[in-house]
């Protein structure tokens, strides 16, 4: 009886768990077949998600960076929102083009910022590649033979895959053979991504099943 009292939605916490379970099973009902129960909860989810985002958007951004400064007398921030609202003309056939002024602002800023990204993100990787020792010398006495072999494998793989991705000219002869090998090497990277993707998706499902077993049914889960 104790277990039953703890199981049933007799207090707010348990009611919350039961609501979560209903939501979960409603979404999972699509796996059996299309049904109105699923559609209802799907639309509920979209509405809640869209509505939720307005809170942080308004309080953490609009209020903090626009309303609050204006309330403190910083009048020079006033134009930001009125001109930012040009974005909402995108749905208007006649005036839709004015939204591209603000979109252009965002795109221009992103483009201008990319130079720093290129310098900080890609050049260190080039540096790291070029710095890999390919033989043991006095300059790197701690290097071991297995490390050297690994570095050679690294460089060969990198160059082969880069050859595969070079589309500026037609692949012929030796270049075509290298590109084919590069494509095989690329499959290794994709296989690693596939394996990790499977793990990720399984983990998300396991999280839900854990919720059903542990939070709802109260069964000890996961190796005791």
């Amino acid at each position: 009886m104790d277990w039953l009292q703890q199981f049933l939605p007799l207090n707010e916490g348990r009611l919350g768990v039961w609501i979560g379970v209903v939501c979960t099973l409603a979404i999972y009902s699509i796996l059996y077949r299309e049904n109105p129960f699923y559609r209802f909860f799907e639309h509920l989810y979209i509405g809640l998600a869209a509505g939720y985002s307005l809170g942080p958007l308004f309080a953490d951004i609009i209020y903090k960076y626009w309303v609050d400064p204006l309330l403190k007398g910083e009048w020079y921030w006033a134009p930001v929102v009125p001109f930012g609202l040009y974005l909402y003309f995108i749905y208007n056939e006649r005036y839709g083009w004015v939204s591209r002024i603000i979109i252009g602002l965002l795109i221009g800023a992103s483009a201008g910022l990319f130079f720093q990204a290129f310098s900080s993100r890609y050049l260190p990787q080039l540096n790291s590649t070029l710095a890999k020792p390919l033989w043991i010398t006095d300059a790197n006495p701690d290097m071991v033979i297995s490390g050297v072999i690994n570095n050679w494998i690294f460089i060969i793989f990198l160059l082969a895959v880069l050859t595969y991705f070079t589309f500026s000219f037609e692949h012929r002869g030796a270049v075509k053979r290298v590109a084919t090998v590069g494509r095989w090497f690329l499959m290794i990277g994709l296989g690693a991504m596939f394996g990790n993707t499977v793990m990720a998706r399984m983990a998300l499902l396991i999280g839900r099943i854990y919720y059903l077993l542990s939070d709802w049914l109260g069964i000890p889960v996961g190796g005791g």
């Binding site: 796996l31 059996y32 939720y52 985002s53 809170g55 942080p56 958007l57 309080a59 953490d60 951004i61 903090k64 960076y65 609050d68 800023a109 992103s110 910022l113 720093q116 990204a117 900080s120 993100r121 260190p124 990787q125 540096n127 790291s128 590649t129 690294f154 990277g189 690693a192 991504m193 990790n196 993707t197 499977v198 793990m199 990720a200 399984m202 983990a203 998300l204 499902l205 396991i206 999280g207 839900r208 099943i209 854990y210 077993l213 542990s214 069964i219 889960v221 996961g222 190796g223 005791g224």
Partner: protein, 277 residues
């Protein structure tokens, strides 16, 4: 006219997918309930992650960039929980920020729950900076002037009045940033951070394979790969968290998938051989 009887392999290849869904569901339930706990072999990236965290000193400042929503809660929550436990255990100051709307509340609630366990006080030991739409300009702004960029924490307190930010002028005064994310935010941290800021990465497993190039170049110092990475990290910390509880389900679902792929290919092969015969 006689209808051809379908062979076993034909029927297997055209099995209703709902039986497959049920098989996966049952597999996970069975192995989650299994009272078995295999020790993790701690991988290199997790070991480096742990070592980087261990080098932090009490009073050091760390930025936790928590950008996950409930859609990846099963992978990112164990990671964030383990990371925050380690930070609090080491008496490190930290601030949290989010570029995903839900992440704001999810990380705030999680940190508040753990803070009670470790006696951490909001404002004195940790703070939450709230939600930002644009991570890149936020990083650039915080690198130049943190207080003018952030202005106030999630509770509306001006950052200059927060004791936890004493002596902090910008991101240059932080030791480390830990990015817990299901999306491609770590390249932004790598690209725009101050040069001395160490980057640690907690991606979902989907994003992990792409990050090995950053690990190789040293742009990321350590990485926890999804719930599996959280399990290894929990083992190093000596705690039993969600990563440890999920791992049975993860590894035996992998076995099921591998067997399924092999059976699917075998069925096709047998069907072809039968047709040729």
């Amino acid at each position: 006219m006689q209808t051809e009887r379908k062979s076993f392999w034909d029927r297997l290849l055209t099995i209703d997918r709902r039986w497959l869904y049920l098989a996966l569901f049952v597999n996970i339930v069975v192995f989650l309930l299994l009272p078995l706990r295999l020790p993790a072999v701690v991988s290199g990236p997790v070991r480096k992650f742990y070592n980087a965290m261990e080098r932090l000193q009490p009073g050091d400042m760390v930025m936790v960039s928590s950008n996950w929503s409930a859609s990846t809660i099963a992978e990112n929550q164990p990671q964030l929980e383990a990371v925050l436990r380690h930070l609090m255990r080491k008496k490190v100051r930290f601030t949290i920020m989010s570029v995903e709307a839900q992440a704001r509340d999810l990380s705030l609630r999680l940190a508040q729950r753990l803070a009670k366990e470790y006696g951490y006080e909001y404002g004195r030991d940790w703070a939450h900076f709230g939600f930002y739409t644009d991570l890149i300009v936020a990083i650039k702004g915080m690198t130049n002037d943190l207080h003018d960029t952030v202005k106030q924490d999630v509770k509306g307190t001006p950052t200059r009045e927060l004791p936890v930010l004493q002596g902090i002028q910008s991101l240059k005064d932080y030791k480390m940033v830990i990015d817990v994310t299901p999306s491609g935010t770590v390249p932004d941290w790598i690209s725009y951070r101050p040069k001395n800021l160490i980057v640690l990465y907690c991606p979902t497993s989907v994003m992990a394979a792409e990050a090995y190039t950053f690990l190789d170049s040293g742009q990321i110092e350590g990485m926890l790969t999804g719930a599996k990475g959280a399990q290894e990290y929990e083992q190093l910390l000596g705690v039993v968290g969600l990563g440890t509880r999920f791992i049975n389900g993860i590894q035996f679902s992998h076995v099921l998938i591998i067997l399924t792929i092999l059976v699917g290919n075998l069925a096709l092969l047998m069907k072809r051989l039968a047709q040729e015969a």
